[in-house]
């Protein structure tokens, strides 16, 4: 089960499994946000290429508007997937 929660100040909390079945819903939510974003991945158990595509889309959109997007508190397994994708140094991962 995937959950995405948005709080004031551009804080986004994602948890569960961010897969192809959930990517469209997540994209709609994230596209409604503007300004700098911090995506807290503490509860994120799993992400696939579909979830990464959503975060890439969000990263490009936010940074092209002059803002930042940071991904924080990734578990080692989730961070591995970003490393496979060559994105671990690019997506503002901390």
């Amino acid at each position: 089960m995937f959950e995405i929660r948005v709080e004031d100040g551009g804080q986004v909390f994602v948890s569960g499994r961010f897969d192809a079945a959930e990517s469209e819903r997540a994209l709609l939510i994230l596209r409604s946000l503007s300004g700098p974003l911090v995506v807290d991945c503490t509860g994120l158990d799993y992400i696939s290429s579909a979830g990464i595509a959503v975060l890439m889309d969000t990263f490009k959109r936010v940074t092209s508007g002059g803002h930042s997007l940071r991904l924080v508190n990734l578990t080692p397994r989730v961070k591995n997937v970003f490393t496979y994708a060559g994105l671990d140094k690019l997506l503002g991962i901390q």
Binding site: A21, Y46, A50, A53, M56, K60, R77, A85, G86
Partner: protein, 134 residues
């Protein structure tokens, strides 16, 4: 172990449950699950997105052999779609030039020892052997 899944994204949850059943049956721990989940999702969603003309469910067979876990996805009455021939994504490009397409097949290549496709009599079979021994 074999199970069939409707050709739709909503099947992913059932595929995850299937992987857990397989791991439990084989006495494998959860550590093997992530890579297998990822490879199966990328293979299955390719069939959902690009499989043309295919009818019926997709069969997924999981087996454990001496060299590790093998997964086989079989679709019926399908036009040929060979995922092994998809171009490699360039993961060294700047993010502004990156496109999400191709990342799934890149993951499959990273996580498997072999990645093969066979097509005959309108049946497409994709077989992968996971890289990590278990």
């Amino acid at each position: 172990m074999r199970r069939s899944f409707p050709r739709q994204m909503a099947s992913l949850e059932a595929i995850v449950a299937y992987v857990r059943d397989f791991l439990a049956l084989e006495g494998l721990d959860e550590g093997a699950a992530y890579d297998l989940d990822l490879v199966l999702e990328e293979l299955f969603t390719n069939l959902v997105k690009y499989g043309r003309g295919a009818r019926g469910d997709v069969d997924i067979v999981l087996e454990r052999g001496p060299a590790g876990v093998t997964a086989r996805l079989r679709e019926y009455d399908a036009d040929a779609f060979d995922p092994t021939q998809l171009p490699e994504v360039d993961v060294d490009r700047p993010i502004a030039e990156r496109r999400p397409g191709g990342l799934g097949v890149h993951f499959i290549r990273q996580l498997t020892r072999t990645f093969e496709y066979d097509y005959r009599d309108r049946v497409g079979v994709t077989t992968v052997a996971m890289r990590d021994p278990v």
